[in-house]
Point group: C2
């Protein structure tokens, strides 16, 4: 009976993480739209919704600590709970990056619109897909998918470098583009961090399933 | 006897965290020097030393999980271990930011030297002091110091905004400064993140000592 109760608590922890992950995924998706449409209301929405993400973080941490204190979980259950404690931080920080991007969108809206022939949307979509995949890997205990996310991280790093190089050229050719381009420089760095967090989540999924820490280590 | 052994394991965990924190503090200090002296060897040093930080992270996480599995820690000990699992991530990510800054220093060195009359050193020193204070608060279980770190975070956010505003003006006045100024834009964002991580560490110290999560909450 106690055991069954414990399993239902683990389930509710999993549900909370997924709900939180879903919101943050939606937040990143919304930043792409807010950016391409220069939509100040959507940007404001993203900033305000971050509170919900923050509440989830504290609740999930408290749930984890309570389970550790009362249930003395072992093996797989312990790995699940410690994984939850790690990935909740990554999810929350992705939420912070969404807020940072939304604030940059607001700054862009204060500037005269310049047409920068560069599109950060593919990079944003790539980062968002990595986030989605890492959460799917977590739900499905899918280590293959998790390992693919880890590899995809290098792509986003390359995209960030490429975007910044192009933005530098634009700024040099036309100083009017400088404020907008600088905002995009910061946004592309934020998206790179989102991808890093997704890769961290993926590495924790491998740990959760296989009991092996692949972080900072070659993964044979 | 078992209990005494457990206490010595907690002690060695604390020592490992402090050693890791000390390295990262030194890394941030080194970025300030590498940046002001445009020192490529020091920058390379920072990049290479990150491996050591990464090793510590994995070791500390494994120690924590082992203690949770074998000792069923309660109350204060449990809070200490869960705090360790959280702050080890923050310390490691500060290390990542040091590497990111060192890479930007290398990029700056590829550009003709332009004299930007802006100094990011005060911001860097502020962030580094916050890191140092958050680690001191952890060692000394000093919640007053931890709360001061949390408040100091707003100062760094303000400095970042101010620096970027000045950099924008420089770029518009003299397009030759664009590559160097863009690197400094990214560096100032990195330093802001370092300060955020220090604030996170400080919040966990309050949790560890008082059992209260003050993150995202007003702290009466």
């Amino acid at each position: 009976m106690v055991r069954r109760h414990f399993q239902s608590e683990l389930d509710s922890l999993r549900q909370a993480l997924l709900a939180m992950g879903g919101i943050v995924e939606e937040q990143i998706r919304a930043t792409i739209v807010a950016l391409s449409e220069r939509d100040p209301r959507l940007a404001q929405n993203i900033i305000e919704r971050d509170q919900q993400v923050n509440h989830y973080e504290v609740d999930i941490d408290e749930q984890c600590i309570r389970l550790l204190a009362l249930q003395h979980p072992q093996a797989q259950d312990l790995r699940f709970i410690t994984t939850a404690m790690k990935i909740v931080t990554d999810i929350e920080r992705i939420g912070d990056q969404a807020v940072f991007i939304a604030r940059r969108v607001n700054e862009l809206n204060d500037e005269p619109r310049v047409d920068l022939h560069i599109d950060v949307a593919p990079m944003a979509e790539h980062a968002q897909q990595m986030l989605k995949d890492s959460l799917d890997a977590f739900v499905g205990r899918d280590v293959q998918l998790a390992r693919r996310v880890r590899t995809a991280d290098a792509v986003v790093d390359g995209l960030r470098e490429q975007i910044i190089r192009v933005l530098l050229t634009f700024m040099m050719q036309d100083p009017q583009t400088i404020p907008a381009a600088t905002a995009l420089v910061l946004i592309s760095r934020s998206l790179e961090r989102v991808a890093d967090h997704a890769a961290n989540i993926a590495e924790m999924v491998v740990y959760m399933v296989e009991g092996r820490m692949i972080r900072h280590r070659p993964d044979p």
